[in-house]
């Protein structure tokens, strides 16, 4: 059931649907379940690699690029088509309906591009944005450090200006996609003499070549989706500093307001599919008629549907041009806590089978063992649940801030004599 978003959107939807059915390469939809791919924590990604390597996918990516359907929310002058959040949501819905993949550019699309669009110079936009759209540049994030996780503004990695270059030295951690990236967007301290938010810069550095080293971090699930990175005098032209020196905090906090809505109505779908897989697992284990399991499954289904309802409501608000409501601020807390609970339910449903892992080197796990273990990360990365609750409490409810601890928000320790 589609939302009624007015005649213009209905027409956009119809045109898009026609375009998709005319242009989609034969067989692409059947290569894998494209809608299943990206539950954080690596749920069932085995078939994805082969599908991505298939010529039909490359053909599709070319067609999408020609039609400006890669990073389509970016302004037309930089290679997108300036789609608003409602149209991006419709795009996601129609691709899902057709069982076809969007070609997305990860953090380059969601984080770096918006920062450059808002804070970059025209020359920076012209240089960096097309390279993200074409896939030539793939970014990973260099924000967190061993000593600075939730308290991001405390970063210690140094950026020193040397002529027309900036030289970055320090250690970063919790980098996802490090092995695929050729660039890193890094937050580094370029002025240690001023209060901590003020002395930071946002720099795009090469992530290959001299001075860059990264090591995988093995997680409790056995998988290694993150890396720690050692930057030792990595050089980039000053041209790669976005938003000017010492303005990095503002740049790092950028999101594009007009993109609201894009994934609102499709983000829940992966969880819905996962739910039905779990229901099937419950049947196979003879648990589908257990009253306690049925209560748990009904709770899980409720969680999935609440994500769906909230997304629909959010999109309807965006379409009416209303400002974001409090519902927008709770989504990360909602899905990460939901998924953690789902992992617990799933392991319980598998019963004694949950005790045993598959044979093999390393630490191979079953699908549900993986959800159980990897979902513990979701309430920690991208802002812990505690940080989310503080943000919700202060920004959505207007509760007073906690008094600063002594010494907070002064200069970095050791920065001044």
């Amino acid at each position: 059931m589609d939302l009624d978003l007015g005649p213009e959107i209905a027409q956009y939807r119809a045109e898009l649907r026609n375009w998709i059915s005319a242009e989609a390469p034969e067989g692409l939809a059947g290569l894998t379940d494209w809608n299943l791919t990206a539950i954080p924590g690596g749920y069932r990604e085995q078939s994805l690699g082969a599908a991505l390597a298939h010529p039909a996918y490359a053909e599709w990516a070319q067609k999408l690029a020609a039609a400006r359907l890669i990073c389509p929310q970016w302004p037309a002058v930089y290679g997108g088509q300036g789609l608003d959040g409602v149209r991006v949501a419709v795009l996601n819905e129609e691709f899902h309906r057709a069982g076809l993949p969007r070609v997305v550019r990860g953090m380059g699309e969601s984080l770096v591009g918006p920062s450059i669009i808002v804070h970059g110079t025209d020359a920076q936009r012209e240089h960096f944005l097309p390279r993200i759209i074409s896939g030539e540049d793939t970014y990973c994030q260099g924000f967190s450090e061993p000593g600075n996780g939730s308290d991001l503004a405390g970063v210690q990695t140094r950026g020193e200006v040397d002529g027309d270059e900036i030289v970055v030295t320090g250690q970063k951690v919790w980098t996802s996609g490090a092995h695929r990236a050729n660039m890193m967007f890094v937050l580094c301290r370029t002025d240690p003499s001023v209060p901590k938010h003020a002395g930071l810069s946002y720099v795009l550095i090469p992530f290959t070549g001299p001075g860059v080293q990264f090591l995988p971090i093995r997680q409790m699930s056995g998988a290694a989706e993150f890396a720690e990175d050692f930057l030792d005098g990595v050089r980039a032209p000053l041209f790669n500093v976005i938003g000017g020196l010492n303005n990095g905090w503002r740049v790092a906090m950028t999101t594009l307001g007009h993109e609201r809505g894009g994934r609102a109505t499709t983000a829940y779908l992966r969880y819905e599919r996962e739910f039905w897989d779990l229901a099937e697992t419950a049947r196979k284990h003879g648990k589908a008629s257990d009253p306690l399991v049925r209560q748990d499954l009904a709770r899980a289904w409720t969680g999935v549907q609440l994500m769906r309802f909230t997304g629909l409501r959010e999109l309807a608000q965006v379409a009416e041009g209303r400002p974001p409501g409090p519902e927008a601020s709770v989504s990360k807390l909602f899905w990460s806590e939901y998924h953690k609970r789902l992992g617990e339910i799933a392991l319980g449903i598998t019963g004694a089978d949950g005790l045993i892992r598959p044979d093999g080197d390393g630490y191979p796990v079953t699908e549900w063992q993986n959800v159980f273990l990897s979902s513990r990360a979701g309430t920690i990365y991208s802002g812990t649940s505690e940080i989310q609750r503080t943000i919700i409490g202060e920004r959505a409810l207007g509760l007073p801030k906690e008094p600063k601890a002594p010494g907070q928000d002064k200069t970095q320790s050791g920065a001044r004599p």
């Binding site: 059931m1 589609d2 939302l3 009624d4 229901a279 419950a282 589908a288 009253p291 049925r294 209560q295 499954l297 009904a298 709770r299 289904w301 409720t302 549907q305 609440l306 769906r308 309802f309 909230t310 629909l312 409501r313 309807a316 608000q317 379409a319 009416e320 209303r322 409501g325 409090p326 519902e327 709770v330 807390l333 909602f334 505690e386 989310q388 609750r389 503080t390 919700i392 409490g393 202060e394 959505a396 409810l397 207007g398 509760l399 007073p400 801030k401 906690e402 008094p403």
Partner: protein
Amino acid sequence: MNLGTSAEQQELRDAVRRFLADRAPLPRVRELMDTGSGADPAVWQQASEQLGLPGIAIAEEHGGAGFTFAEQAIVLEETGAALYGGPYLASAVLAATALTASEDKAAMADLLPGLAAGTTIGTLAFTEDDGSWDPGTGQLAASRAGGGGGWQLDGHKSFVLDGHTADLILVTARTAAGLSLFAVDATAAGLTRTALPTLDQTRKLARLEFGAVPARLVGTDGGAGPALAHTLNVAAIALAAEQLGGAQRALDMAVEYAKTRHQFGRAIGSFQAIKHRCADLLLEVESLRSAVTFAAAAVADGSPEVPAVASLIKAYASDTFFHVAGENIQIHGGIGFTWEHDAHLYFKRAAASQLFLGDAAYHRERLADRIGL
């Protein structure tokens, strides 16, 4: 499906909220909760004549305003927020929906205009002493009376919302053909009505005894099952809209208090122990708001998702309102558990709403069933 908010809907919300704040504020609710009806007839009359609230979702041909359930859900959210003690849920939702769903043209033409105008107060009697919320389990019997086409009812009903004050009682009964619906005039001979002392004094319940009470068949003999199932689905969503209103109001009370109450030299809302609790409550209330918006539109559209969504939302709304109302007491500290403070009124309404129409576990089991588990 339209999930937007029209200017007309916003005006409706504002008008109902203003009206209740003015005519049925909490001090007045407290006075009235000690009376038999729990409501002021003058306020009901004004709500009917000036705002047209009882008939908002009743078709124009039957004297209503012909809006959809989406508008009615807005009214319910406001009556729930205000703990309004009048018979809105009983008359405008339970009775009106049961009549409309019966598709009995003659009964609708005869009975809906009074409900729409608010001059007749209706209710639906479907539970009995065993407390089952499934009308199919009731024992109350209907039989042919004398030689004419009339019927008479023998047995009892209980937990009937506003059952002692309603003028028109729609009663579920067994006939030889099966589950059927009957209309009974509250003044009929053989009907004994007893108000029950309720945990939530703002919500009145009654026990009814029927001894050869004359009744009018509504719909077909033995054919009431689907209409009643639909009525109870709509009622569950309506109650969830009320629960949303109550939960939002209780959260607002808690947050307001957390901003102004100081201990250890700080507003208590600056402590994470309080702030994070409030954030969790907001997550639940906002999720419930999304669900109510969707469910109300689903009813308005006649969506096939209504049965599953009804059980989903009744369970979630029950958990959410109760959680918020309980935390509201906790955040208020000592004043929160006094009779003087309003927190207990919301807590008791939350508990009563949790149980009425079936508790969360009951509805989760039905949800599991309805999605095919």
